[in-house]
């Protein structure tokens, strides 16, 4: 294997665009996942058993089945129920729903970590439910929720590589295509691994930084 850097330079625009698609899908999927996950966790907390049980079942199913199968179900099964999606929207939908299931569990644990007395104190002061969520529950659970959220973000980035199987033009798809085109598949896969590695390390460091910042802030405030 003679690594020819010219191959990379020649295809640099494609590699950058593939990286861009991966980053965009990852961040959008994560944000949607956090939003939906938070709503699901909140509904499960306040909605009573009639809401909690079915949502809990859906979360269990999403957490107990491979991401690839979920993607196949939407991508190949969707058209049979009138949901014909292009690879990119399909990938985004799959990634967000998958993320939402895991984030909802993180938020559920976050809700459970806040001492009940604090919520009762808020109720006694006449705060509305929304105020209690915004002023008491969310700030108090932030530090609990952050580490698993960063962890999950890293997992999501890695899962996004699976989207190459349904031909989403992200990093894995792009770089392996370059590899077969240039008869340099092994080099391409090495490059791919290194790019993912760099992004994951950067994300993990950013997460740790946020954790330190948040904990010193909390410490100073208390």
């Amino acid at each position: 294997m003679i690594f020819d850097p010219n191959v990379i330079l020649k295809h640099l625009p494609e590699i950058i665009s593939g990286t861009g698609v991966t980053l965009a899908l990852w961040i959008a999927g994560m944000l949607l996942g956090i939003l939906i996950g938070f709503i699901v966790a909140t509904l499960r907390r306040y909605g009573g058993r009639a809401v909690d049980l079915p949502l809990g079942f859906v979360v269990e199913v999403l957490r107990g089945t491979p991401f690839l199968i979920q993607i196949f179900l939407v991508y190949y099964g969707g058209p049979f129920v009138g949901l014909s999606l292009d690879p990119v929207p399909c990938g985004l939908l799959g990634l967000s729903v998958y993320a939402a299931a895991y984030y909802s569990e993180i938020f559920r644990a976050g809700y459970a970590s806040v001492p009940h007395g604090h919520v009762e104190a808020g109720e006694c002061l006449g705060l509305s439910r929304l105020q209690i969520i915004r002023r008491i529950l969310l700030p108090e659970m932030a530090l609990i929720v952050l580490p698993p959220s960063v962890n999950l973000a890293v997992i999501l980035l890695k899962e996004s590589a699976v989207l190459s199987i349904i031909t989403v033009p992200e990093l894995t798809t792009t770089v392996s295509a370059i590899g077969s085109q240039e008869y340099a598949f092994l080099e391409a896969i090495f490059l791919l691994a290194v790019i993912y590695w760099v992004i994951v390390e950067a994300a993990a460091r950013l997460g740790r930084l946020a954790e330190t910042r948040l904990s010193t802030f909390r410490f100073a405030a208390s």
């Binding site: 089945t65 491979p66 190949y76 890293v154 896969i189 993912y196």
Partner: protein, 213 residues
Amino acid sequence: MSFKLFSLLVQASVWTIGISAISIAIGFLIALGLSAALLSGKALYRKPAEFFISFFRGVPLLVQLLLIYNLLPFIGLNVPSIVAAIIGMSLCTAAYQAENLRGGFESVPKGLIEAADMVGFSPRQVFVRVKVPIALRLTFPALVNEAIMILKSSSLVSVVGIVEITRMAQDLASSTYMPIEIFSSAALIYLVICWAVALAGRFGERSLPGAAK
């Protein structure tokens, strides 16, 4: 969907379970070595182990599988794709299990080790009779979680051509034009396997020595 199709998926699940179980077992052995290197306190051992763990935790499993699948023939090892798949999954799970084991060994209470020292245990006895049982007990839940993760990740070995549940489902879906039924059935099978492992894990946890009764 006919019973025949469903039974084909169930038969394919033997591969899913087999590959996952073998990978978990090999991964555990590698992880023992890695965690020993991490805890050795010598940079010569620790640094390579850290590098290995960081790499295999930082790169998507799909990319690792493609890498190993293409690397093995390149270095002159023409092995069947099943071997490449098992190597890939074992290395990946080893990185995760090593971190778990390190955490387990680090949380063995110091007092217990000192107590064993006091009653005249040799360092070897302290390791075998005190550290290992407690660390394994502490990391058991994480091991069960990892087993479930690997079961789900094993769907990715379908890309190197192994006909496990996911590949079988793909083949059946394209030949029968019933993707919804087929992929839902595949999902159901994964779900049942994962639940079974979780249940067995909970049962195992309770029957381990030193469990809270």
